[in-house]
């Protein structure tokens, strides 16, 4: 039985990879994200300066041969700081998406599998959550938990979770109505078994599309919150926090906000393009409108 079930999904993966290989733009985006991740991991070796090393003789300087991205108000090298900040920004996005998955996926499965009043209750709560203007809800959560990067990412994770929940519920519902699943249920297979064998394999690909797009959304949200001072706290720094600090020197040293801002924009664009490419590579039957 499991062999029969595995065979089509195997060929589906092959078909998916073949389609994805033709998405030139998405391949570039993926390449960029891989390089970026490597740069973040190896920042201590790649960065030209120590990101904390001050040089008060050279503060708020524009780009030069010594400092490609210029220096900040304490004479620290902006390029090195952008490289080190990428660690925080990337990790924060990953953290928010993981939190969103943890909050959204289990109730989505439950709602789709059990249905009835459990489903109604979960969906009501989701509607209520989605009726909040997103950033305002995030600020409220941070107000309660206190400003910190982790708390900010918890807030962002809560905001993103309803979409994962709905995706899981929709997939679970459609799979649960398949004849072979009803048959499996009638011969006494447990719900857990059905979820493992039939629901999860079906939901993985649309989930990956959503994860890619939401990593971009989370990165924008983290940047926004850190810009406001509600996310990353000093001495740690993310791209958004760098823009927030550079705000004060906008008239004297625009490079302080130009480069970290560009880093956010290009990274988010890459995540979106990757998400588009993944969606276009999925079969029509599993494609999700976002």
């Amino acid at each position: 039985m499991s062999d029969v079930a595995a065979a089509p999904s195997q060929s589906g993966t092959v078909r998916f990879l073949r389609r994805f290989r033709r998405q030139t733009l998405s391949l570039w985006a993926l390449g960029f994200l891989i390089v970026l991740t490597l740069l973040a991991v190896f920042a201590p070796w790649v960065a030209p300066y120590d990101p904390l090393q001050q040089d008060l003789d050279h503060v708020l300087e524009g780009p030069s041969a010594d400092h490609w991205f210029g220096t900040d108000e304490l004479g620290r090298d902006v390029l090195s700081r952008v490289l080190f900040a990428s660690r925080v920004s990337l990790l924060a996005a990953v953290q928010a998406v993981l939190i969103a998955l943890a909050i959204g996926v289990p109730p989505g499965l439950v709602a789709g599998m059990w249905g009835g009043w459990v489903d109604a209750l979960i969906m009501r709560a989701t509607d209520a959550l989605m009726s909040f203007p997103p950033l305002i809800l995030a600020v409220a959560i941070i107000a309660v938990l206190g400003p910190s990067l982790t708390n900010a990412m918890i807030a962002v994770g809560v905001l993103l979770s309803p979409t994962f929940l709905r995706l899981m519920r929709a997939t679970t519902l459609s799979v649960a109505q398949e004849t072979y699943v009803e048959a499996a249920q009638s011969i006494g297979c447990t719900r857990g078994w059905i979820i493992r064998k039939h629901v999860l394999p079906n939901v993985v690909s649309p989930l990956f599309v959503q994860i890619s797009v939401f990593a971009g959304v989370a990165m924008l949200a983290e940047a926004g919150l850190s810009f406001l001072g509600l996310g990353t706290q000093p001495p740690e720094s993310s791209w958004g926090a760098m823009v927030g600090r550079g705000f004060r020197y906008i008239a004297h040293a625009p490079s302080l906000i130009v480069f970290p801002g560009l880093a956010i924009a290009v990274t988010v664009l890459a995540l979106y393009v990757l998400g588009d490419g993944l969606r276009d590579s999925l079969g029509r039957e599993t494609r999700q409108e976002s």
């Binding site: 909040f132 809800l137 600020v139 107000a143 906008i250 130009v258 988010v268």
Partner: protein
């Protein structure tokens, strides 16, 4: 029509109840004892106990919730811990700033998205289409605070074409209001413009294939009337749905944009209240935001009737 609006409002009551429960529970989640904080570090246990009793903190949670909700319904959102003013008064004072920012941003996003969506949707694959498609992807990826800062840098600092910060009420000076609102509203509206353009483009491509577009052409109408009148009114139906969602996230975006442009609105208040731990104020901001969001969605529902006669209430 009035009955339709009333029905819709009634239908939102369960939703508002759940929302109120969530907002109320913010207080329960907060670490530490509010009475202890209010009393100050030198307070004796008896003093703290007295404050606790006066604040009603010793009552069961349900009693406190009902009491709080009763106040909210009557417009009593509590008192600011920071300024001792009634929360509602502070919010109402700042509401016009945020509303005029949000409304202008929506209008700007529509002013961009409608022509861009119609042009690209009627000429898929053309140069204009590709340029706009790339532009909308970039518009989605650029963080709005960064865009705002770049606009300030270029248009307010390098060229002093616009004031960098501040706000002038429209009742004081229309031109002053406009000069202060353009950059923030554009900053706030760009992401919505990108999403709406994509949405409208797709809808226009579908609609242009419909038989009634051919009928309109067979009547001898100029192509402009065919696309702008006949096709657009149908393509606008899905766009209105997205507009509702976008308005919601745009309201959240006012927090950042007001901060950048130094506008004394609700968003700026929200950030300040986080740092002063002014929880009643935060709760008030959230309630106000949800009420505005619910009203906007009601407006969206009502405007469906204009675009789609099939759902028009009799």
């Amino acid at each position: 029509m009035l009955r339709f609006v009333l029905q819709r409002l009634l239908a939102t009551i369960p939703l508002l109840l759940i929302v109120s429960l969530l907002v109320f529970s913010l207080v329960l989640l907060i670490p530490g004892d509010p009475a202890f904080q209010l009393a100050g570090e030198d307070a004796t246990p008896e003093e703290v106990e007295a404050i606790r009793e006066a604040m009603g903190l010793n009552d069961p949670v349900m009693v406190r919730y009902v009491r709080w909700l009763g106040g909210v319904v009557q417009g009593d959102l509590g008192t600011s811990l920071f300024s001792d003013q009634p929360v509602l008064d502070v919010l109402l004072e700042r509401l016009p700033v945020t509303l005029s920012l949000a409304v202008t941003a929506i209008l700007i996003s529509l002013a961009i998205a409608i022509p861009a969506g119609i042009i690209t949707g009627t000429r898929p694959g053309s140069l204009a289409d590709r340029v706009v498609t790339v532009g909308s992807s970039v518009g989605l990826a650029v963080p709005n605070f960064w865009l705002g800062l770049m606009l300030v840098l270029l248009l307010a600092i390098r060229h002093a074409w616009f004031p960098a910060t501040g706000y002038v009420p429209i009742s004081d000076s229309v031109s002053g209001w406009w000069a202060h609102i353009v950059l923030p509203a554009f900053t706030l509206g760009l992401a919505a413009a990108a999403i709406l353009t994509r949405q409208l483009r797709g809808a226009m491509v579908d609609v242009m294939d419909q038989d009634y577009v051919r009928t309109a052409r067979a009547k001898g109408l100029p192509e402009r009337a065919v696309t702008v009148k006949h096709a657009f009114k149908n393509a606008a139906i899905p766009m209105v749905t997205i507009l509702g969602v976008q308005t919601n996230s745009l309201l959240g975006g006012t927090i950042i944009v007001e901060q950048i442009f130094g506008m004394p609105g609700i968003g700026q208040l929200a950030v300040a209240s986080v740092f002063t731990r002014d929880l009643p104020m935060i709760q008030g901001v959230v309630i106000m935001a949800v009420v505005v969001a619910v009203l906007v969605n009601l407006l969206v529902d009502v405007s469906y009737g204009y675009f789609n006669p099939k759902v028009r209430p009799k």
